[in-house]
């Protein structure tokens, strides 16, 4: 699958990584929901680093649509709180 880190680029990851990515993503959301600013940077970095470490960069001239788009590395806690708490844009 293709994962885009917003503002950074696209990575190609095995489909089997989806579950782990979901866990890491839920990790970020739960930290934000709990209002735990101290744990936020680590949770977001864990998600981004997983993608960077396990994915291979899609070449600039390759045209692919992403299956997943995750937020940029410099997303602040306040921005995340605005975006991802409560029901978000699309309720579960």
């Amino acid at each position: 699958m293709i994962v885009r880190i917003s503002g950074e680029g696209q990575y190609r990851l095995p489909d089997s990584d989806a579950e782990r990515l979901n866990e890491l993503e839920n990790g970020v959301v739960s930290v934000v929901e709990a209002g735990r600013e101290d744990g936020y940077a680590a949770a977001l970095t864990a998600l981004l680093d997983y993608v960077r470490a396990n994915g291979t960069l899609v070449a600039d001239e390759e045209i692919e649509t992403s299956n997943v788009i995750i937020p940029p590395a410099d997303l602040t806690f306040e921005e995340a709180a605005r975006e991802f708490t409560g029901e978000g844009l699309i309720p579960d």
Binding site: S6, G7, E25, T65, E83, G88
Partner: protein, 259 residues
């Protein structure tokens, strides 16, 4: 096809899709979509140029404020030597505000620098994808029937559009970041325009409003500390009977540099 069901990526993807919808017209002809990509690339370049302009403006403001800090410090010292504590305090308040603003400008400049770098990288990616799209489009047109080619080229256009939307998102964030710090910068610019940081000796009696604003902006404990330190260093001057500078009089140029 694998995907995440997580709330976060859903939200981000929805945002990008929204930008994509705005950018794309499904009724476009094949060649037109390339033409439009090239046009949008020009907009991205313009956006980057705006960030660079904003950065240069901040850097100019920085160097003006740096000069003011030096000047106000000199004048505060002269005032302390002359035993004019009120004047010294006023100069230090101004210096304090100028310094605080300098720090915030510094942060802003490095943030903009970072944004500029990111946008430039994204622009390169986008340019590469648009170039690839141009080639791919021709290959597809040669190999497939018109209807099939339309579908395949639209798919490729969506991929390019996603990169475009991503640059757009980064651009929006760059603008938001500069907007966030604008309120304070505006307040300081107003003071600057009023000549607040220029010359403390120009202080008249009608400056109440500026002084009130300054008091709000400056950190009083820091001003108190610095004044105490200066008085210690200079030893109060000892001759308050002959003030070197008085309100309303023309001050010594800062080059005199006496302490």
């Amino acid at each position: 096809m694998a995907g995440l069901t997580g709330r976060m990526s859903t939200v981000v993807k929805a945002k990008v899709s929204k930008l994509l919808d705005r950018a794309e017209d499904p009724a476009e002809t094949l060649d037109y979509s390339y033409q439009k990509q090239v046009e949008q690339l020009q907009n991205v370049k313009k956006g980057i140029a705006d960030v660079v302009t904003a950065k240069k403006r901040l850097q100019m403001q920085e160097s003006t404020l740096q000069q003011s800090v030096v000047k106000l410090d000199t004048q505060a010292r002269q005032a302390v030597s002359a035993g004019q504590e009120d004047l010294a305090r006023a100069a230090l308040e101004r210096k304090n505000v100028a310094q605080t603003e300098l720090q915030s400008l510094d942060t802003q400049v490095s943030e903009l620098e970072e944004q500029q770098q990111k946008l430039t990288d994204s622009e390169q990616k986008l340019r590469a994808k648009i170039e690839a799209f141009r080639t791919k489009k021709e290959v597809i047109k040669a190999q497939y029937s018109a209807a099939e080619a339309q579908v395949r080229i639209s798919e490729a256009a969506t991929g390019v559009g996603e990169q475009m939307a991503d640059v757009g998102l980064a651009m929006q964030r760059a603008v938001d970041k500069t907007e966030n710090m604008k309120a304070r910068a505006d307040a300081v610019s107003e003071l600057e325009a009023a000549g607040t940081f220029d010359d403390i000796t120009q202080l008249g009696s009608g400056e109440d409003d500026i002084d009130r604003q300054l008091k709000q902006l400056s950190s009083q404990p820091a001003v108190d500390d610095e004044l105490a330190k200066m008085k210690n260093e200079i030893g109060q001057g000892g001759a308050p009977a002959t003030p070197q500078i008085a309100p309303g009089e023309t001050g010594q140029p800062s080059e005199s540099g006496q302490a």
